[in-house]
Every structure is written in C-alpha cells, then in structure tokens.
C-alpha cells in the first residue's frame, strides 16, 4: 500500500522532471509565434529557420570545437588523476583530490569571475574560444575523474600484476591490460564532458569574446519573442542529441562492467 503511494508520487515527480522536455517539441512544431497553449497547428518552419541562420551555425561550430577539445583535455587530466588516486598513495592525497574535485561544488559564477579577472585584468589576454576551453576543462575534469575512478577501481589489481609477472613492463601493462579495460569509462567520460561543455552557459557567458558559443547565442535569442519558436526547435534537436549521447555513454559504461566481469550496481556518475 505504501509502495503504491510511493509509486504514484514517483510518476508525478517524473512528470515534473519531464514537463519542460515534453513541452519543447510541442512548441517546436506549433505554427504560432507565441509560446503558449492552445497549440494552433503543425509546422516545421522553425527548423528551416534554424537552417537559414548563419550566426547560429557559427555558434554551433564554436561550441562543438570547444566541447571536443574540452572533453579530450578533461579526460586526459581525468585519467592521470583517477589513475593516481586509485593506484597510488601520495602525500596529502585526500587534500589534493578534494581540491581537484572542488569545481564540482563551487558556484560556477565564482569560477567564471575569477578566471575572467586573471585572463583579462592580470594577463591581458584576449577572450577567445580557448579561454572558454580553459574554464570548461576545469569544470569537466571532476566529472571525468568521478567516472574514471569507478572504471579504474573496477579493475582487479591482480590483472596488472599478472601482466607484469608475465614479462610486460609498466607501460605495456597499461597499454595491453589497463587501457582496454577502462576504455568504456574513457568513452563515457568523453561523452559526458562533451555534453557538459556543449550546454554550459554561466561560465561561457563571461569567457566568450567575439564568437558566442551556442548557449550564449541562445541566451541572446531569448530576448526576442519572435525568435522563441526557433529556440524551441533548436532545443528539441539538442534534447534528442543529448539523449542519444547519454544512451551511448550508458551503453559503454555497461559494456565496461561486463568486460570487467562485474555486475551492474546501477547508477550513472
């Protein structure tokens, strides 16, 4: 009985969680310029409008560039830190790891303004895509570490010892045994970092120079009511892409578990 009540609550809560996501395609295919009910008719105009907006294309290109580079760099840094944390003891390990994971809980605006001050006021650097990348690597790395920690922990240490015992060096052991086993974790770290960077707005808003990223561009559009349906269309595309990426990431995570011969304990991140 109690479980029935909880079940109903869970469904209502899921509705609350999904409300915006469900509305998105409704307005994206609605032929009214006003974002409100009742829906008036079906159209795909807003999607064509997206195709004819060069500024958006530039923003998307920027964002993808930033997201790809950030994902790769964050994952590389994540591999180093996660490997160090799971395999070795070093002085002040907890402190060091805590500090590296700090951006996970730090208000993003703090990260944004402090980096802005250093880059603009202290170093006098121009704001470019690379300044956004620098910041995104910083905030994606903790996510990458969280994922990769799990991946590295799942490897039975005896496997690496066995490889060494059979004549491999440290490096070839990593290449032949460790790397293939954490590969799924690496892929899901790449995908998740990519998604975070692609969607990040608060920091990007501070760090973009002349070329806005996609969220910054969307932010600009939100002020113009006439552009809103196109934003809805764009949002729909993004939702579909994000979900596809997430499913891919989850797929690799599970495959990793299977490969490591482990049972799924559930849980993303």
């Amino acid at each position: 009985m109690k479980s029935r009540g909880l079940m109903i609550y869970a469904v209502v809560y899921l509705l609350f969680l999904y409300a915006p996501v469900l509305l998105l395609p409704m307005f994206a295919f609605n032929d009214s310029t006003i974002i409100a009910f009742p829906l008036t008719g079906f159209t795909t105009d807003w999607f064509s409008e997206l195709r004819n907006t060069p500024a958006l294309h530039t923003a998307v290109k920027n964002s993808v560039f930033i997201a790809v580079i950030s994902a790769v760099l964050a994952t590389l840094l994540g591999i180093c830190a996660a490997r160090a944390a799971t395999k070795f003891d070093f002085p002040a390990k907890r402190g060091v790891m805590g500090f590296i994971m700090l951006p996970l809980v730090l208000p993003e605006i703090i990260v944004a303004v402090s980096l802005l001050v250093v880059m603009v006021q202290v170093l006098n650097l121009p704001l470019t895509n690379w300044s956004v990348i620098a910041a995104h690597v910083l905030i994606c790395t903790p996510f990458s570490i969280a994922i990769l920690n799990g991946a590295f922990q799942n490897i039975d240490g005896a496997l690496e010892e066995a490889a060494m015992d059979l004549g491999e060096t440290r490096w070839s052991t990593f290449r032949l045994v460790t790397f293939p086993l954490v590969m799924p974790g690496i892929i899901s770290s790449l995908l998740i970092s990519f998604t975070i960077s692609l969607d990040e707005f608060i920091i990007a808003f501070f760090m973009t120079g002349a070329n806005p990223t996609m969220p910054v561009y969307i932010w600009g559009l939100l002020r113009f009511p006439s552009k809103l349906p196109a934003v809805m269309a764009l949002g729909t595309i993004l939702v579909v892409l994000s979900i596809a990426l997430l499913i891919l990431a989850e797929f690799f995570r599970r495959r990793g578990l299977r490969r490591a011969g482990l049972k799924d304990t559930g849980g993303f991140l």
Binding site: E161, L166, G167, R259, A260
Partner: protein, 362 residues
C-alpha cells in the same frame, strides 16, 4: 638432486609499523614442491610476493639461481605466479590469456599457437582456446591461470592460495592434479596455504610461519610427528599436552609426565637445548588407544574415565580423564566391527607408546 634454487637471507619487510617479515632465512631447492603454511596475517603472501618481485624487501637478500634479485623487477624474474583471484584477463580469450606472456618471444606465430595448445592440453582444457575468459567456471579459470604461468617455463611457479576459491570436491581434485602436474613438469612450486591438510598432502617440504617468522621447516611427516614447538603442534592437527618435569638430560631424557608417569625419550623427541625442570609433553590422539577388556595392552597402560565422546561414523573421538590427575586428553579410535563405543562415565584403560611423545620446553 637437491640443488638450491631460491635463497632468502635474513629477509625483512615492514609496512609502516607492521613487521610483516622478521628475518626469513630459507632455501628452496630445484624441483621441489614447497609450501608456506600459517595462520591468516602471518606473512605468507608477503613472502611469496617478495620472491615474485611485487614487494621490495626492507632488509636482507633474495637470490634466485645464485643471482641477487634486489634490482630485478617482477617482469624480469624467472618466476611466474598463479593469483588467488586467478587474474584472468577478461577482455581476452582463453588462448590469448594463455599466450599473453609469449608476446615478446622469438617464436613464430605457428610455434606460439602450438605452445598455447600444448599448455591448454597439459591442464586438460583442449579445445577451450577460443572461449571468452568470462565464460569459464572457477576450476577452468584456475587451469587457465596455471597454463598461462607454465607456458613460460619459469624456474619457479608461485601459487597464492590457488585452491581456496574452489568448493571442497573440486579442491581435492585440483590438489591431486597440481601435484601430478608438478611432478610432470619438474618445476619448483611454492604454494601458499593456510590449510594444513592441503600442505601435508601436496608438499615435499613445508615452512610453518607465525607472525613473520618461520617456526619450523620440515617434510610433512616430521612436521606432523615431531613439531618443534607447541604452537606448531597446535596448528598442525590436534595434539594433547600434558605437564611434565624433566629429571635428567643426556642422550636420552627422562621425565615425569602427569597422568602417564615416568617416561624415557630418545633422539628426535626433544630439542637439543632441553633442560631439567618443568616442560610439556605432546601426544597425538591417534597414537593412543582405548583398550577393551580383552585387550592386554602393551608396556604403557593407564586407567582412565570417559568424560565425553563424539561419534563420527568411521571414528570416535573420546575425551578421557587420566587416573591420578585432572588432565583430559583426546583420543581418536577407528570404529572397527568388534569394538564397542564407550559411553560417558565408563571406566577404561588407555594404552600409549613412549615413541609418540614429543617434549616441549616451557
């Protein structure tokens, strides 16, 4: 025949404050089946891993074939290991696992495949080569681990509790197979176990370890019959201990044992440094017998009362109180057809043999 292969000299290993090994001196010979036996935490695994090269020693030297191993990493040592968890690479097939160590060898591909096939058939896994590693049973994983280590023809095979993950029946089967395999390949095996039975069954020689030190190193029979301390005696099987007073020392030792009276011990029944005074005498349950009325008994017979008994089908274990003392000892008897099982409180006689006694200094 007994050519030394591995020599440890005063090997110590500390983990911070924990002294895992406290000065181990040990020589292991070529072609020997050697076991390290001891309770949990006594340092068996640590000792094995210092030989494999996974742990640096804190002091002392490890020599293999007269070469100091101090600066030789694990991957350059002529040892291979079978891990307790087997450490089968989950992303590789059975054949790839077994052939893993051949990657850098000069063999041609055909030769390598032949070697893998041969190793697989040696452990009874012919035709399993293309199987995925995670689709194996516990016993099969064990065999893959063995084949993978033996394919490199190491001088020493190290096995850390290789059978502890298997169920009892499979364990017994693998004990026999391992022993046969060792005879067949002639490689030195060093087995870590905390199962005394397993060690006794399989080994040529056994080192019993307590608390980072080797307490006794001997062949199974000596270890069982002539343990050199109460601790070892207690760890290997069951032994009764009776207080005694040593009255004279020499080629033979005489002592007065509570419940048994004056005994005379010879040769290997006591340590060289035995002194007069209080001591203990140990005697195994199966070396004594409960006499029936018709039995005449031998030279040494003592009256006793049955205090308790446990019937095990093939055996009965009696706890008896010896006359003229309050010492209860355990005696095991085979349940033969014409032998009655005694009940609690029954009076009886106990026969014992002075050759079965071992004297321990206090």
């Amino acid at each position: 025949m007994t050519k030394p292969l591995i020599q440890l000299k005063n090997v110590t290993k500390n983990y911070g404050d924990v002294q895992a090994l406290r000065g181990i001196d040990l020589t292991i010979n070529e072609g020997e089946f050697f076991s390290l036996l001891g309770p949990s935490g006594c340092g068996k695994t640590t000792l094995l891993r210092t030989i494999a090269g996974f742990e640096d020693v804190s002091g002392g030297t490890v020599m293999i074939s007269d070469k100091d191993m101090a600066n030789v990493p694990a991957n350059k040592r002529p040892t291979n290991m079978v891990f307790q968890s087997y450490a089968i690479f989950p992303h590789l097939s059975v054949a790839e696992n077994v052939g893993f160590g051949l990657r850098k060898s000069q063999m041609s591909k055909v030769e390598k495949n032949a070697a893998v096939d041969q190793a697989l058939s040696m452990v009874g896994l012919d035709g399993y080569g293309s199987r995925a590693a995670h689709a194996l049973s516990g016993g099969q994983r064990q065999r893959v681990a063995l084949a993978r280590a033996l394919i490199l023809k190491p001088k020493v095979l190290l096995l850390d509790e290789p059978l502890s993950a298997l169920d009892k029946k499979l364990r017994e089967q693998m004990q026999a197979e391992l022993r046969n395999l060792q005879r067949q390949v002639g490689i030195t095996f060093i087995l870590v176990t905390h199962d005394q039975e397993e060690a006794l069954i399989m080994s040529d020689r056994i080192a019993v370890m307590f608390d980072g030190e080797i307490a006794q190193l001997a062949d199974p029979q000596t270890l069982y019959r002539r343990p050199n301390s109460r601790q070892v005696a207690d760890f290997i099987g069951v032994m009764n201990f009776l207080p005694a007073t040593v009255t004279s020392v020499g080629d033979t030792v005489t002592a007065h044992v509570d419940g048994l009276g004056a005994v005379s011990l010879s040769g290997d029944q006591f340590a060289k440094d035995v002194q007069t005074g209080t001591a203990h005498v140990g005697i195994r349950p199966e070396t004594m017998s409960i006499l029936q009325e018709s039995d005449t008994g031998g030279a040494n017979v003592t009256a006793a009362v049955v205090e308790d008994r446990a019937y095990y089908g093939d055996m009965t274990y009696y706890d008896v109180r010896l006359d003229g003392g309050d010492h209860i000892i355990t005696i095991s008897m085979k349940n033969l057809v014409d032998r009655a099982v005694l009940e609690r409180g029954e009076k009886t006689r106990v026969a014992w043999n002075a050759r079965a006694l071992v004297l321990f200094n206090d």
